[in-house]
C-alpha cells in the first residue's frame, strides 16, 4: 500500500512566542522550527503500520517555504521513503491546505492519508476534515489507535472524543488524523539522518498545481492575550484556606 503523511513546519512548541508590537504577526527572530508534533505522530504511525508487516511506501508531504525541507528530512530520517515539498510562502488557511493536499493525493493515489489533528502554530484543526470532504473519503479524526483490517481494505480507528473513546471502521482510502496518544514518535538515529539526506525530496511550486489558492479567510491583526495580574505566594495551608474563604470567597 501507499501511505501519504503530512509534515508541517511549525515554530518550536516549547519556545515562548511574542506578538509583534505592530500586530502584523509574531516575532520570528531567533525562532527554532520543528515538525508539528501531531504530524510527527502521524509519521511514526505510518512507520509502525509498515513494521507490523504491511508492505508500504511512505510519502511525506509538506507545504511552506524552501526551509520546510528540514522538517521533511526529519520525517525521512524517521523512516519515510520520499518527500514532496509544495513551495508556498504566502498567507494560506486550511481551505488552501486541503486543496493542495487533494491535488497531491490525486497524483500519488495513496491508500491511507495520515495527518496531525492540528498544527500547534495556528491551532485550527480543520485541514484533515476538509481534505476528506474534497476527496469524498471517510474521515477518522483524533485517532488514538489505528488497526488495518479486512486485508488492508479498511481501518479500525479509535477516536478521542468528549467523554470517552469511540471506535469506527472506515473503508480505505481514508483520511485519519492523529491525536496525542496514538504513539510516541522515535528519534531519528545518526545513520538514518545521514541516509535521509540521500532520499528523494521533490519541490513543487504551488503555482504549478493549477488550483485556486486564494484563502477564504483574511488575517486582519494579531494581539496579545490578556495577562493575569500577578498573584501571591502563601506560606502555608492555613493561609491558603483563609484566602480562598475570605478573600476570593470561592470555597
Amino acid at each position: 500500500m501507499k501511505i501519504l503523511v503530512t509534515a508541517k513546519r511549525v515554530t518550536d512548541p516549547d519556545m515562548k512566542i511574542k506578538v509583534k508590537p505592530d500586530g502584523t504577526g509574531i516575532v520570528t527572530d531567533g525562532m527554532n522550527y520543528k515538525i508539528n508534533p501531531f504530524c510527527e505522530i502521524a509519521v511514526e504511525e505510518a512507520l509502525r503500520i509498515r513494521e507490523k508487516g504491511t508492505q508500504a511506501e511512505i510519502v511525506v508531504v509538506g507545504i511552506g517555504p524552501k526551509e520546510a525541507a528540514t522538517e521533511l528530512r526529519t520525517a525521512l530520517a524517521m523512516g519515510a521513503d520520499r518527500a514532496i515539498l509544495v513551495l508556498h510562502d504566502a498567507y494560506y488557511d486550511s481551505t488552501v491546505v486541503a486543496k493542495i493536499l487533494k491535488k497531491i493525493v490525486e497524483e500519488e493515489k495513496p491508500d491511507l492519508i495520515l495527518t496531525g489533528k492540528q498544527a500547534v502554530d495556528d491551532d485550527s484543526n480543520q485541514a484533515s476534515q476538509m481534505l476528506a470532504t474534497l476527496l469524498g473519503y471517510p474521515q477518522a479524526c483524533f485517532a488514538s489507535k489505528i488497526e488495518l483490517v479486512d486485508g488492508g481494505k479498511k481501518a479500525k480507528v479509535t477516536r478521542e472524543v468528549d467523554g470517552g473513546l469511540e471506535t469506527i471502521q472506515v473503508e480505505l482510502p481514508a483520511v485519519v488524523s492523529a491525536d496525542l496518544r496514538l504513539n510516541e514518535p522515535r528519534y531519528p538515529t545518526v545513520p538514518n539522518i545521514l541516509k535521509a539526506k540521500k532520499k528523494p525530496l521533490k519541490e513543487v511550486p504551488v503555482n504549478s498545481l493549477g488550483i485556486d489558492i486564494s484563502p477564504k479567510t483574511e488575517f486582519v491583526k494579531m494581539t496579545e492575550p490578556p495577562t493575569r495580574k500577578a498573584g501571591i505566594k502563601v506560606p502555608d495551608v492555613a493561609t491558603l484556606i483563609d484566602k480562598l474563604k475570605n478573600e476570593s470567597k470561592v470555597i
Binding site: P13, D123, Q126, K156, V161, E166, K216, K245, S248
Partner: protein, 319 residues
C-alpha cells in the same frame, strides 16, 4: 440581518451547556436557528426551543443514531442550502470540531476555530481566535458567502430560557446510505460521578508531581469534598494515571472554572492554554520556580503529598 445556524450537541437526550454558549455567540450576529441530529431526537429539539431561536430543526433517523461525520455533514449542508444560512456555528467540542470543517469544505468556505470574541461593525464581522496555544490572538475575517466557526464555550455566557418556544420542524435530508464507507463500532464511555470537566465550578488537576494513581487518589479526594471535576496535565495522562479526556490544555479540554487547583503541575505553555481563563487559580508545587506560579493567584510551595491531606482535613473540619 444575517441568518445563523447553530449545530447543537446533545448527550443521552439532554442538551449540552456548551451549545448554549454558541447560541449567545450567534445572537451577536443575527437571528439564529438551531439544528440537532440523532435518532428519536424531537425531545432534544423541544428542549432547545426555549432559547429564542427562530426555528429549531431536527434531523431524525437511523442514519443519525450514531455520529458519522459523512452523514451529519451531508444532512446539515442540505439544510444550510435550503434555508440560505450565512453563518454556521457550533461549540468547540470534539463533536463539532470534527463535523464543521467537513461541512465547510462542501461550501468552499472559510472557518474560524475556537472563537473567543466576535466583533460586528455593520457588515464586517471580525473573529478573534487563539493561535500558538493562546499566546497570540488572531483577528480574522471570513470571505466566503457561508462562514463557519467553532465557539469556545468559556468565552460566551450560556443563553437563557426566554419563556416562549421556537417552532420545531423536522428536516428530511436526502442522504444516500447505500454507499456508506463508515461503520460505527462502539463508544467506550469514561464513567464518572463527578461533574463534567468543562462545566464544573471547581476543577482540581494533577500533573507529574502526583507520581502515580495514588497521588491522584488525593486529588480525587479533594475534588470530592469540593464537588469538583478532576483534570490532568499531559504528563499525567501520558503516564496512564487518568483517562485521556481529563487532559486540560491546548489540545485537550479548555476550562474556566471559578476555582482551579493545580497540584504538582509545572505549568507548560500547553497546559496554561487550557486553564488560564479560570477565575481563581491555586498552584501547589514543590518547585518554587515552576511556571504555574506565574498565573496563580495563590501559590503554595509545598509537596502536594503533605499539603493535600492538610487541605482536605481543614475543609472537612470547617464544614
Amino acid at each position: 440581518m444575517a441568518k445563523v445556524l447553530v449545530i447543537a450537541e446533545h448527550s443521552k437526550g439532554q442538551i449540552k451547556k456548551a451549545t448554549l454558549s454558541s447560541l449567545t455567540a450567534a445572537s451577536k450576529i443575527g437571528a439564529f436557528s438551531i439544528v440537532v441530529a440523532g435518532k428519536d431526537i424531537k425531545g432534544v429539539a423541544d428542549a432547545y426551543a426555549k432559547y429564542g431561536a427562530e426555528k429549531v430543526f431536527y434531523v431524525d433517523g437511523d442514519l443519525f443514531k450514531n455520529y458519522i461525520a459523512e452523514n451529519y455533514a451531508e444532512a446539515i449542508a442540505q439544510l444550510i442550502k435550503a434555508q440560505n444560512f450565512e453563518y454556521v456555528f457550533g461549540s468547540a467540542t470534539a463533536f463539532t470540531k470534527d463535523l464543521i470543517p467537513r461541512i465547510a469544505a462542501k461550501f468552499d468556505a472559510g472557518m474560524a476555530s475556537e472563537v473567543l470574541a466576535i466583533e460586528v461593525n455593520g457588515n464586517d464581522v471580525l473573529f478573534a481566535r487563539p493561535m500558538w496555544a493562546g499566546n497570540a490572538i488572531a483577528h480574522i475575517k471570513i470571505k466566503s458567502p457561508v462562514k463557519f466557526a467553532t465557539i469556545r464555550a468559556t468565552e460566551f455566557d450560556h443563553a437563557k430560557e426566554i419563556g416562549a418556544s421556537s417552532p420545531v420542524e423536522a428536516f428530511v435530508a436526502n442522504v444516500d446510505s447505500s454507499k456508506a464507507k463508515v461503520e460505527y463500532i462502539e463508544f467506550a464511555e469514561t464513567k464518572s460521578e463527578r461533574p463534567e470537566l468543562t462545566e464544573a465550578r471547581v476543577v482540581v488537576s494533577g500533573g507529574r508531581g502526583a507520581k502515580g494513581p495514588e497521588g491522584f487518589k488525593l486529588i480525587e479526594d479533594l475534588a470530592d469534598i469540593l464537588n469538583a471535576a478532576v483534570g490532568a496535565s499531559r504528563a499525567a495522562v501520558d503516564s496512564g494515571w487518568v483517562p485521556n479526556d481529563l487532559q486540560v490544555g491546548q489540545t485537550g479540554k479548555i476550562v474556566a472554572p471559578e476555582l482551579y487547583i493545580a497540584c504538582g503541575i509545572s505549568g507548560a505553555i500547553q497546559h496554561l492554554a487550557g486553564m488560564k481563563g479560570s477565575k481563581v487559580i491555586v498552584a501547589i508545587n514543590k518547585d518554587e520556580e515552576a511556571p504555574i506560579f506565574q498565573v496563580a493567584d495563590y501559590g503554595l510551595v509545598a509537596d502536594m503529598f503533605k499539603a493535600l491531606p492538610e487541605i482536605i482535613s481543614s475543609i472537612k473540619a470547617s464544614k
